[in-house]
Amino acid sequence: MSRYHRHIVLDEIGQAGQDKISKAKVLVVGAGGLGCPALQYLTAAGIGTIGIIDFDTVEESNLQRQILFGTSSIGINKAIAATKRLEDLNPTINSIAYPEKLTPKNALSLFEDYDIIVDGTDNFSARYLINDAAILTNKPVVYGAIYKFEGQVSVFNYQNGPSYRCLFATPPKEGSVPNCSEIGVLGVLPGIIGTMQANEVLKMVLGFDTVLSGKLFCFNAMTSETITLKIAKSVAEIEKVRSLKEQFSNQSFASYCKFPVAEISVEEAIKLGNNQFIDVRELGEKPTIELPNCIQIPLHTLEHELAQIDSEKNKMLFCKTGIRSKTAVEILQKHNQHNCYSLIGGAETILAHQKLELK
């Protein structure tokens, strides 16, 4: 068949290799920024059976990077829209759409039907679910993840190699990594990382001994720098997952969308230095606080006054008692401001500290 001629003429692949590709069954979880390019190359390469699971629908803001979709796909389920495009790209393969969410209830039986799982999801709960289900069904996972201009790729659970939990044992503290809000991403980055995931799939299918197992590849699209880190296997982490097999389908892989709020005392804040103090009380609330580098933005107007926030400084937010200031920290973090703190004890404590200093 002339479709795969450029594969077959490679000594490393040949007709025998192409036959392996056409017998392979690959499940791609998430047809988004990573899933789209991976699916495109896997389909073009002739992977015999490709499953696509995604519950989401195509939005206009996806089109900047999710290259299987066009304007006419907006509003359509991603798994279904992707299958339509892929059937045209390569009608000789079998592509199956699952327009649903991957859950602890359906993951194990779905994974059983495939040889390799591609993780193209965009949140930690899905990533830990995929990792654990892959351990229980003994399937390798091609992991890819991105953050702004940076990407990571690895192959987990391959030929007794390490799993995602050997690298990051547990999901991060609730919300410590901004994954749920739209933080922005350079469109071409998931293209690069997703394509590398397709590359790892093909290497496994073809039996190459150069699979990215036990290694984490990191790429920076801004600097074009790459770095590959070695990951050791943690038998204990993998056994822990195996031991929970019976409870697996009832487990909750909760989401991790909330940011923790860092609190700081007045003394620590002053010691830290380089501060911008932000009074989030209503205008006229007592006691009046006079501090250098202090501005007043009542809490309810904070989202409209972000231009006043100095991103280079440590933001010390305070109110009367330290409750509204916690909400204020959450608001600033939602707008990707780092180094934001809620001052413990609020305005009264600042006043007490100032009096003490004057004595």
Binding site: E150, V177, P178, L216, C218
Partner: protein, 77 residues
Amino acid sequence: MNLKIKYFGVLAEITNCSEETIAYTKGSVSDVLMLLFEKYPTLKETDFQVAQDLEIVSKDTLLLESEIALLPPFSGG
């Protein structure tokens, strides 16, 4: 001795730099993290792994004159 530290992802935003060199006497990964937590209190609230000379290491690993990397988990896709 000098320790070169590389920061990835959100850590580079917290520290405001992608790499820096710090003077360091000797000790384990935990010891150098204590220094960094003092310098960047927000780091303490953040999850990350540490690699020494391109290898992910545990917190009690002794640090040599080397390059270390602080790597947070990414979830985007």
